[in-house]
Symmetry: C2
């Protein structure tokens, strides 16, 4: 998606450890118009899939997840990263280790909201190692829910998450795939198909 | 807002410790259509205020925050609860203690995204004790940003947050104010003005 690549090239900043900071428009300050335009791309790609739920993970997947769920006219579920007192015990749980936060956490979804009759579109803002997404897949598997596809805003093409998920057979649409980036702010993107 | 009261009365569940669980439509599974209708109420109330930013707090404020920011056509900022490696040091910080999670955490916003020229609409899904909202206010004060008002989906009228904020002089709009609730699922709401 050229618009997203332009945002990354113009506003993205690269920090040591292959950290790509895009928090001026994606995951701290949010450009809601951009979210809606990205959501339209996901809708166009997955519209024939009879999606019943959009599933993402807090916190930075929620903004794009809402825009996508609106277009499909289905509920958004955001998986929780910490088990709060409000959640109850009747949950699916998957353990995830976070690259950027340097720690492990549990991802949970209430059993009530994900069923074996659901057809789920998984959405996230970033795909790098892919651990968070694999956690969401495990939760769908626990629920017996079908996975129609995976929509990612920014994939780091030089990290293995995307290739892993495609090898597992999932229909993965990444709107921008960063092939390389430098701390001077030079980016190359995978050619758009 | 009658629609939101109906959602609470029909789908809300009450747990010991005055916990109101509305995670079937507000803060785990999200009814995006309801978010948009609530956002329209906030827009109608605050539309003359020349809002430049909508500020909320991760994670459960993001869904309603996006819908509100779309209507005002301004960026959403969501304050972060844990300092990740990606955020950098140049942040406003406020310490908040959470009632539902039983712990303290830092709320942070990058200095870059909030300026003394901003006029901010604060949005959150819940108002009870009010600690999270007071944290956001402190962050706006640190930035020298103006606070145009506070929009809350569900206020617990039997807890002091709303009264505190109104005494502080803020224009607080709560779309549903729960005056009492029982574990049998009986709710009374403050009369709508």
């Amino acid at each position: 998606m050229k618009l997203l690549e332009d945002f990354i090239a113009e506003k993205g900043r690269v920090y040591p450890g292959n950290v790509l900071k895009v928090d001026s428009f994606l995951n701290h300050q949010v450009d809601v118009r951009l979210m809606d335009k990205m959501a339209a791309e996901f809708y166009s790609h997955f519209s024939a899939c009879e999606i019943t739920k959009v599933l993402t993970i807090e916190a930075s997947g929620i903004a794009i997840g809402c825009s996508v769920a609106r277009l499909f006219d289905v509920p958004l579920i955001f998986a929780k990263k910490t088990k709060s007192l409000n959640l109850g015990d009747d949950v699916y749980v998957s353990r995830v280790s976070s690259y950027t936060q340097g720690k492990e956490y549990d991802v949970t979804v209430s059993r009530e909201y994900l069923r074996n009759t659901d057809k789920v579109l998984l959405i996230d803002d970033f795909l790098a190692i892919g651990n968070a997404m694999k956690g969401l897949i495990e939760i769908c598997d626990q629920a017996g829910a079908g996975i129609a596809g995976i929509g990612i805003c920014i994939e780091k093409g030089f990290q293995p998450g995307g290739e892993d998920l495609r090898k597992m057979g999932y229909n993965v649409l990444s709107l921008a795939t960063v092939e390389s980036m430098t701390q001077n702010g030079e980016f190359t993107f995978k050619e758009r198909s």
